[in-house]
C-alpha cells in the first residue's frame, strides 16, 4: 500500500477497504467463495455413504476424552451424559483422585479426576474449565479437559490397550471399583 519514502497510495487503500466490505457483505448474504466452499464441503459430507446397519455388526463406540497428558476411550455403554464443568468444591478429607463436589444439572455429584484415576497422575491444582462425564449407576462424574467425541473402538480393543492414536482404553468397571474402593477407604 505504501511506496518508497513512506508515501501512502490512498487509492489502493480505499480500493482494498471497499473490496473487504463488499466481501463481508457478500459472505453475510450467503454469497461468495467462502459460502460456496462451505456448501461444497457439506455436499461431499452428505454424499459420503453411511455404514449399513444390517450388513455388519456395529462395533462398540467409545467416548474419547482429552486429559492433561493422554487421551482416554470410555465405552458409551457405561456413560450417562457429558456436562460442562465450570467449577467444583473440594471435599475436605478426600485425596486423589477425588477433586470435590460439583453441581451438574439439578444434582450434586462427586467429581473424580480421570488422569489421577486412570494414569495415577497427581490432582490438577487449579480450577480449570473442562467437561464432566457422568457414569450410569453412579452419582459421580469424571473430570476431563475435554470430551473430544464419539467414535467406534477397534474390534480387538480391550480395556487397558493403547490405541494407535495413543488413547488408553479405559474399563469403566475397574474405574468404578477403584472409585468405590477409595470411597470405602475414605
Amino acid at each position: 500500500m505504501s511506496g518508497t519514502a513512506g508515501r501512502v497510495r490512498w487509492d489502493e487503500v480505499r480500493r482494498r477497504a471497499e473490496s473487504g466490505v463488499r466481501a463481508m457483505e457478500a459472505a453475510l448474504r450467503g454469497e461468495g467463495p467462502w459460502f460456496e466452499r462451505l456448501l461444497d464441503d457439506r455436499t461431499r459430507e452428505l454424499a459420503r455413504p453411511s455404514p449399513d446397519p444390517g450388513q455388519a455388526a456395529p462395533r462398540e463406540a467409545a467416548l474419547f476424552c482429552q486429559g492433561r497428558s493422554s487421551c482416554y476411550a470410555l465405552s458409551l455403554a457405561g456413560l450417562e451424559r457429558v456436562e460442562p464443568l465450570a467449577c467444583w468444591s473440594p471435599v475436605p478429607g478426600h485425596g486423589a483422585p477425588i477433586l470435590g463436589l460439583t453441581l451438574l444439572g439439578n444434582s450434586r455429584r462427586l467429581l473424580v479426576d480421570l488422569d489421577s484415576l486412570a494414569a495415577r497422575l497427581p490432582l490438577r491444582e487449579a480450577l480449570r474449565p473442562g467437561h464432566a462425564v457422568l457414569l450410569r449407576g453412579w452419582d459421580g462424574a469424571l473430570a476431563v479437559d475435554r470430551a473430544l467425541g464419539v467414535a467406534p473402538l477397534p474390534a480387538d480393543a480391550r480395556p487397558g490397550d493403547i490405541l494407535e492414536d495413543g488413547c488408553l482404553v479405559v474399563s469403566l468397571q475397574r474405574l468404578a471399583a477403584r472409585i468405590m474402593g477409595r470411597e470405602e477407604e475414605g
Partner: protein
C-alpha cells in the same frame, strides 16, 4: 666722360631703333621693287595669255562660222543671203584674229628688246617670230575661208567642200603654231616665276643680312652700355656681399656724380649705419641671451616641478579612482545584499504564512488524528462486542458439542434403536465442530484485528505525538522566523542606511574625482604650456646665441 644710366639707355635704344628704321625702309624698298617686277611679269604674261586666248577663240569661231556656213549652205541651197551673213561674220572674226596676232607680235617685239633677262628676251623674240608665222598662216587660212564662204554664196558646195579639205591642212598648221606659241608662253611664265623666286631670295638674303647687322650693332651697343652699368654694380655686389658676411669696415670709392656713384655713397652710409646697429645688436643679443638662458633654466625647473605635480596628481587620481571603483563595488554589493535581505524578508513573510498554514494544517491533522483515535476506540469496542458474540457462538457450539456427545451416549444406551439417532448425533457433532472451527477462525481474525487496532492506536498515538511535536516545532520555527524577519528588517534598514551612506560617499568621491580630473587637466595644460615655454625659451636661447654669434661675425 661720365654719362648717367638713363642717357646711356636712351642712347642704346635710340641707336637700335634708328638701325631698325633704316633696315625696315631698305626692306620696303626691296619688296616694292620685287612687287613691281612681279606685277610687270604677271601683266606681260597675262597679256600674252589674253592674246593667245583671243587667237584660239577666233580660230574656233572661224572654224565654227565656216562649218555652220557649210551646213546652212547644204540645207538651204539657193539661199545666198545666208552665205553673205557668214562671209560678213567670217570677215569680222578674221580681222579680230589678225588684230590679236598683230598685238601679240607687237607685244613680243617690244619685250624682246626690253626684257628683264636675256632668257626672257630670247623667249620674247621666239614668240615674236612665232606670232609672225601665225599671222601668215592665219591670213592664208582666213583667205581660204573667205573663198569657201564665197563658194557657198555661189552655191558651189562641192567646191566649198574641196576647199574645206584644203583648209584643214592649214588649220592643222595653225594649231601647231598655236601649240608652239603656248609652249613659249609657258616657258615665259616659268622664266618669270624663276626670276621672281630669284628676286625673292635676293630680297630675303638682304633682309637677313640687314637683321644680322642690326643685331650685331645692338649687341655691341648693349655690351658697351651693360659694361658701363654692370662694372659698378659688380663692385656694389661685392661690397654688399662683404657687408652681408659681416665686413662693415669696407667702403666704396666715391667719384663723379652719376647715379651709381651716389648709390655707392649711400651704400657706404648704410655700411656705417649697419656697423653702429650691429654693435648695438651685439650688446642687446648678449643681454637677451643671458635673459633667455635664465628663462630657460627657470622654465626647465618649472617644467620639472609641474611634471612632478602632474605625476602626483595622476597617482592621486589613480588611487582615488580605485577607491571610487571599490566604493562602487561596495555600493553594488551592499545593494545586492539589501536586495537579498529584502528577498529574505519577503521569504520570511512567506515562511510565516507557510508556517501559519502548516500550523492550521497540523491542527487539522491533530483533529483528524483524534477522530481516528475515537474511531479506533469505537472499533475496539465493536471488536469486544464481536468477541462476546464469538463467545456466545462458542458457547452454543460447545453446547451443541455436548449435545452431540450426549445424543451419541443416549443412542448407544438405546442400543439397536438408537442407531439412527446416532447419525443425528454425529451430524450435530459435525455442526458443533464446524461452528467451533468457524469461531476459532473468527477469533483468530478478530485477534489479528485487535492487534491491528492496537497497532493503529499506537501509531495514531505516535502520529498525534509527532503532530504535537511538529506543532511545537512549527511554533518554534514561527518564532524563529519572526525573530529572523525582525532581525532582517533591522538589517535591511541598516543596509539601506549603508546604501545611502555609500551613495553619498560615492557621490563625494565622484565630485573629488571630477575636481581631481579638472586639476589634472589644468596640470596637464600647465605641463604642456610649461613644456612649450621650455621649448620656446630653449629655442629663444638658441636663437639668441645664434644672434650673438651672428652679431659677433660683424667686423666693426
Amino acid at each position: 666722360m661720365s654719362m648717367s644710366i638713363g642717357w646711356r639707355l636712351v642712347l642704346g635704344f635710340g641707336l637700335i631703333v634708328l638701325l631698325s628704321l633704316l633696315l625696315s625702309m631698305y626692306q620696303l624698298h626691296l619688296f616694292r621693287d620685287a612687287m613691281r617686277y612681279f606685277e610687270a611679269v604677271g601683266t606681260r604674261d597675262m597679256q600674252v595669255h589674253a592674246y593667245v586666248t583671243r587667237i584660239v577663240q577666233s580660230r574656233a569661231a572661224l572654224r565654227s562660222i565656216r562649218e555652220q556656213a557649210i551646213t546652212e549652205a547644204a540645207l538651204a541651197a539657193g539661199r545666198g543671203r545666208y552665205a553673205d551673213q557668214a562671209a560678213d561674220r567670217y570677215r569680222t572674226e578674221t580681222e579680230r584674229a589678225l588684230a590679236s596676232v598683230g598685238q601679240l607680235e607687237a607685244h613680243a617685239r617690244n619685250w624682246a628688246q626690253a626684257g628683264a633677262s636675256p632668257e626672257r628676251r630670247r623667249l620674247w623674240g621666239e614668240l615674236r617670230q612665232e606670232a609672225s608665222d601665225l599671222g601668215g598662216i592665219l591670213r592664208e587660212v582666213t583667205h581660204g575661208g573667205q573663198r569657201l564662204v564665197a563658194l557657198l554664196g555661189e552655191n558651189r558646195l562641192p567646191d566649198a567642200l574641196a576647199m574645206r579639205e584644203k583648209l584643214e591642212a592649214g588649220q592643222r598648221l595653225l594649231d601647231d603654231e598655236l601649240v608652239l606659241i603656248s609652249r613659249i608662253t609657258e616657258k615665259l611664265t616659268q622664266s618669270g616665276r624663276d626670276d621672281i623666286a630669284e628676286n625673292y631670295q635676293a630680297a630675303v638674303r638682304s633682309a637677313l643680312l640687314a637683321i644680322i647687322g642690326v643685331i650685331l650693332l645692338g649687341a655691341v651697343a648693349a655690351f658697351l652700355i651693360g659694361r658701363s652699368i654692370a662694372g659698378p654694380l659688380a663692385q656694389f655686389g661685392a661690397f654688399v656681399m662683404a657687408v652681408g658676411a659681416g665686413d662693415l669696415t669696407r667702403r666704396l670709392p666715391e667719384r663723379g656724380g652719376s647715379e651709381l656713384q651716389r648709390f655707392g655713397g649711400a651704400l657706404n652710409d648704410m655700411a656705417g649705419a649697419l656697423g653702429t646697429i650691429a654693435g648695438q645688436t651685439v650688446g642687446l643679443a648678449e643681454a637677451v641671451n643671458a635673459a633667455t638662458a635664465q628663462i630657460r633654466a627657470s622654465s626647465q625647473e618649472q617644467a620639472a616641478a609641474v611634471a612632478e605635480q602632474l605625476s602626483a596628481i595622476e597617482e592621486t587620481t589613480a588611487t582615488l579612482s580605485e577607491i571610487t571603483q571599490s566604493g562602487a563595488q561596495i555600493t553594488r554589493r551592499v545593494q545586492e545584499v539589501e536586495h537579498s535581505a529584502l528577498a529574505t524578508v519577503q521569504a520570511s513573510d512567506d515562511g510565516l504564512r507557510a508556517v501559519a498554514a502548516t500550523v492550521q494544517s497540523m491542527d487539522g491533522i491533530n483533529d483528524q488524528v483524534e477522530t481516528v483515535a475515537a474511531t479506533i476506540v469505537s472499533l475496539s469496542e465493536r471488536t469486544q462486542t464481536i468477541g462476546e458474540i464469538i463467545l456466545a457462538v462458542t458457547t452454543m457450539a460447545e453446547r451443541a458439542h455436548l449435545l452431540a456427545l450426549n445424543a451419541s451416549i443416549e443412542a448407544a444406551a438405546a442400543g439397536e434403536h438408537g442407531r439412527t439417532f446416532s447419525v443425528v448425533a454425529a451430524e450435530i457433532k459435525r455442526f458443533a465442530e464446524q461452528a467451533r472451527d468457524a469461531t476459532d477462525q473468527v477469533r483468530t481474525n478478530l485477534g489479528e484485528i485487535q492487534q491491528g487496532i492496537n497497532a493503529s492506536v499506537m501509531l495514531t498515538e505516535e502520529a498525534a505525538k509527532r503532530v504535537a511535536a511538529g506543532r511545537q516545532q512549527t511554533g518554534a520555527s514561527e518564532r524563529t522566523i519572526r525573530n529572523m524577519a525582525e532581525n532582517l528588517q533591522d538589517s535591511v534598514q541598516a543596509f539601506q542606511q549603508i546604501v545611502a551612506a555609500t551613495n553619498q560617499h560615492q557621490i563625494g568621491l565622484e565630485q573629488v574625482m571630477q575636481a581631481l580630473d579638472s586639476i589634472r587637466q589644468a596640470a596637464t595644460q600647465t605641463a604642456t604650456a610649461t613644456r612649450h615655454l621650455e621649448h620656446a625659451s630653449a629655442d629663444l636661447n638658441n636663437r639668441s646665441e645664434g644672434l650673438v654669434a651672428m652679431a659677433r661675425k660683424y667686423r666693426l
